[in-house]
């Protein structure tokens, strides 16, 4: 018996995935410092590399229909080992969520409200996410297309407004950087925007019909990837060589919009879009976290956990890094290491073991 009672339509999954990937649009900045003008190809390569793993998430979730990954772990690895694996998942959700919350805070404090105490920004944002999580996944899924449209609108309109400042020779020379940096970039890309879709292992279980789950996941993934690509192309074409020096490349390129001295300083556009998109991403993460913890401790509902978890998240987000420099450094170098086994080893392994042990059929038989 699953904790979540709300149901998500199959086509809503598409918007959920797309909006979720789009929510990482701010995070491609982490890669820009490493891969400079070749970021666009790193995004594509990251998509290709992570695609089989994401396929394994979808197949796994489909195989264990109506269950979330915590239940699956118990089944596949047994009671004890399953709990260990589940704790790993929860740790990942917990940390990634706090990093994302911190991102929003840093965006606000650097560009919009430099004098506001950092913790207030974090609390305000987390409280909003907590509210969304209280409402449940069904509500989030029903409005997911609105988030996607908002994000797409900002991404496409800023691209159009900056066309006159773009210099497409900024992408040259095509292959300049040493392979090791490209490799690091691909790893970062496949882990951060795409690999984090592992959160859907908690959500696909709530689908009312899993028929098109795989197809819709991939269409959503593609839409998300295209958004990231547009943003990355825009930033590189506008900022060229300088794109490595800014705290936020997207913010910088949008500040340059100047259409006849009337449409200028459109910072607010990106402020809105980033807030909305990261809110969406964080809410999904938060939801996954709350449900996972509730499932681990065998609670009947995840709702009592939302507030305490929100408090924990704010504290982690406020204290985990010393500065944005620290944040970028750890995300680029260490963050993707601790998450790699979870994203790239455990789900395929779970699937393999499930296949060998013929698990779901056995379980369904027991249910009947």
């Amino acid at each position: 018996m699953s904790i979540e009672k709300g149901k998500v339509c199959s086509w809503q999954l598409l918007f959920l995935v797309a909006g979720f990937v789009q929510g990482s649009v701010l995070l491609i900045d982490f890669a820009v410092g490493i891969t400079e003008h070749q970021t666009w190809m790193v995004i594509l390569a990251g998509l290709v590399v992570s695609a089989p793993f994401i396929l394994s998430y979808a197949v796994l979730a489909k195989r264990f229909q109506g269950m979330n990954v915590i239940q699956v772990n118990d089944l596949v690895y047994g009671r004890f080992l399953g709990k260990v694996v589940s704790v790993y998942y929860i740790f990942f959700y917990l940390m990634t969520l706090s990093f994302n919350i911190r991102d929003v805070g840093e965006l606000y404090i650097t560009f919009l409200m430099p004098d506001t105490p950092f913790i207030f920004l974090l609390i305000g944002f987390t409280a909003t996410c907590a509210y969304a999580v209280y409402k449940g996944i069904e509500v989030l899924a029903r409005v997911s297309h609105l988030f996607l449209i908002t994000g797409m609108f900002v991404i496409i309109s800023t691209f159009a407004l900056l066309i006159d400042q773009m210099d497409f020779s900024n992408f040259l020379p095509l292959f300049e950087l040493p392979f090791i940096r490209i490799f690091q970039g691909i790893h970062l890309m496949s882990a951060i925007p795409f690999g984090e879709t592992i959160v859907f292992l908690m959500i696909i279980g709530s689908l009312n019909k899993t028929e098109h789950a795989i197809r819709n996941t991939f269409i959503g993934l593609l839409i998300g990837a295209i958004s990231l690509l547009i943003v990355s192309v825009r930033n590189t074409a506008v900022l060229g060589k300088t794109q490595t020096i800014w705290t936020s490349t997207s913010f910088q390129s949008i500040r340059l919009i100047d259409i006849g001295t009337v449409l200028t300083r459109m910072d607010f556009l990106i402020g809105i879009a980033q807030t909305v998109l990261i809110f969406f991403k964080c809410s999904l993460f938060f939801y996954a976290l709350a449900v996972a913890v509730a499932q681990l401790f065998g609670l009947k509902s995840y709702l009592p956990l939302v507030l305490p978890l929100a408090g924990i998240e704010v504290i982690i987000a406020a204290t985990v890094f010393q500065s944005p420099v620290d944040h970028a450094g750890i995300t680029q170098n260490a963050g993707i290491i601790y998450s790699a086994p979870l994203m790239f080893v455990i789900p395929p392994l779970t699937l393999l073991i499930a296949k060998i042990r013929g698990l779901p059929r056995h379980e369904r038989g027991k249910d009947a």
Binding site: M113, P114, T116, L172, L239
Partner: protein, 394 residues
Amino acid sequence: MILGKVKKGIFAVQILLLLMFPLLLTGCWNNRDLVDINIATGIGLDRTEEGKLLLTIQIVEPAAIQSTASGKGKGGGAQPEPVFTQCFEGETVFEAVRGMLSIVDKKVFFSAAQVLILGERLLQDGIEEVLDFFQRDHEMDYQMRILAAKDVTPREILEIKNDIDPIPAVYIKETVDNTVARGTVKKTMLIDLIKDIEDRGKQPAIGQISKEGEEKVRTEGTAVIKDGKLAGWLDPYETRGYLFAIGELRSAIVSVPADKGKVAMEIMKAKGKTKVEFENNQPSMLSIKVSVEANVGGYEGTGRLDSPDNLYMLEEKLKEEIKKEIIMALEKTQKEYSSDIFGFGTYVRKFHPQYWKNAEKEWDSIFSNLPAQIQVDAKIERTGIIINPVASGD
């Protein structure tokens, strides 16, 4: 019935709550009122003789502008000065900016700064370090015009007062934009400068400003920078040649000698492209391709313009004239300043990365010794309302 009333009550409370939200959303927490700030419109940076940084800020009191505007004509008595200029010395830019607060009564607000004027001594000393503050601070407008002061200190320029515009910095900015339309000054915005400094293949060039008489400025010419330091200046004609070559010329009036007089050609469209030709993996030639479309703006003479041959001759002469200006600019930057403000290095970096890796350090000397090939295409589109000059003899 009662239930309906309760529902209505809840509805009213909801509406009330909704109406209260706008009150909370009026502004940010660190919102500053117009009467509580001093608006910086122009910034000047220079070095003192002791090597300290001298910051000059032109400050506008919004409230005072209002009172002078309404006081005018009424012959009102002592009005507060709407614009004043203040200097402060400091070790770093930020220190000077904050130190300014010990002289000025209100916080200085930088988002509306129109111009940043760099002094000659600072330019000779190096600009890259001091610009960092302007990039880092979130208040700065990246479209701010950057100017290099020649034979005058930024302070002297910012202290200019005249009747053209109540705010001198606005007057300077508008003058620069006018001159850009004449094609004799390089329009350098903060973002352009940052891009040029970051791009190791191109040296920055900054528009020039000097004093014209006691209370006016003249914005013509270009300061050539090499590795962050001032290398020299280009005069208005060389500047125009330079702008033709890099394709940044928006419009210009080029006078062309024609038989029996002079023709003023108005450049309507200009495209410029710089390239470096390679032979055996070694750069063999700098190539500049320019194509312009021009109209006849005036014919101060007695020649005729009514046959294709006349126009063809005129086109040829226009080409010559433009080519001459480009050569002047190129030779000066190559031989005298050895600073690649054209961005040939950027081309090499992008299209010949293998070669660039080894050549990056010596690029300026390689650039200085390369021969150049300049190709200009000119097309005369229209001759205006009349064809021949009134006094054309035939």
